[in-house]
Symmetry: C2
Subunit: 208 residues, 2 copies
């Protein structure tokens, strides 16, 4: 019988997606939930709302608060944190590369390494060289992966995932989506999403 599953929707430019990525595996394992990693781009979703950049840039008080809150939350979780420059980073290439890993199983490791480079070491993740270093460190053939990432079929796949995000009502990141499409937004909602996924799996065990 299949166990509970939760989709983890994240954008590599998103600060709170970083926090969620660093802790979701341990939390999901403890809850007995399988995680499906869903890298996507927030840019088109923001653009559809008339935003040309991150709301944290558009609304300065909200932005100032977020940077301070991230400092506190990163310290609480015991992960490093520095402010990327520029913010937001262009996450297109990283998202394309992460998609390639979905079929090969290395997307979680790649995602955590990219987030750690971006928010822990101030690396610019739009730089193909920075991503190649991450891939090589994971024992992968960076050149081959980059080629697959930039193939037309993979670009189209990322666009389809973006359309799926909009259909599901995703408006920010991170989001967690249960099998019944129940949506949870924000790193703060991870535990509630895991609870939902496990409760739903229990109920679906009951013959109708």
């Amino acid at each position: 019988m299949p166990g509970p599953v939760l989709e983890f929707w994240y954008d590599f430019a998103s600060t709170y997606s970083y926090l969620a990525a660093m802790r979701i595996e341990a939390a999901a394992e403890e809850a007995g939930v399988k995680v499906h990693w869903r890298p996507f781009l927030l840019g088109p979703i923001f653009a559809a709302q008339g935003w040309t950049t991150s709301p944290f840039n558009l609304f300065p008080d909200k932005g100032r608060y977020m940077w301070r809150d991230m400092e506190r939350e990163a310290a609480r979780l015991g992960v490093p944190f520095c402010r990327p420059d520029p913010f937001p980073q262009n996450s297109l290439l990283a998202a394309r590369v992460a998609l390639v890993g979905l079929d090969q199983g290395w997307t979680p490791a790649f995602t955590k390494a990219v987030f750690a480079a971006e928010f822990g070491k101030s690396r610019n993740i739009s730089d193909p060289a920075a991503l190649s270093i991450v891939l090589t460190d994971l024992g992968l053939d960076a050149g081959a992966v980059m080629e697959q990432a930039q193939a037309e079929a993979n670009k189209a796949r990322l666009r389809r995932i973006g359309e799926e995000a909009q259909l599901r009502g995703i408006f920010g990141a991170p989001c967690f989506v249960a099998e019944d499409r129940e949506l949870f937004w924000g790193n703060d909602r991870l535990e509630r999403a895991l609870d939902w996924a496990t409760a739903r799996a229990r109920h679906s065990d009951v013959p109708v």
Copy 2:
């Protein structure tokens, strides 16, 4: 020696302020923190960002999510929840009345009763009659309180509090502000804010 203090900034129209108001007293008592209630108006702060209504109305996906999240969170906290019509409610009069109670000590009870009427019984809180019922139920002279609420000095006091909110970088509600001006935004951050307030009070016990 004075114990830890936390300011609770809330707008009567704000959904998550309702949740925070219903639980802050018990949580603060357990943490040994004194709460200063700070009713204020988000409207001028939103207007300064170019918003003419709640962001939950301006951004439909965000709004749809909030209503669903409020349903879940209210159920979790065991408080009733219905969607006010119109949303947001005009919270000007309720905020003015709540200010009157600050000097007389009934602001917490009034605030909880107004939120319960608004989000539990679909009462329109811009209606003076609805607020008078709340005041009368609290054993107060509703007519006298209403007169004080609408006095010029009290109106000016609410405007000053609004200016103070902007100076403190408050951009949404609820917010919690510690004595050192550390800001926490959202019902989800209440526990962190209480932790901060108690830790700070411990440190200030140490002679410098």
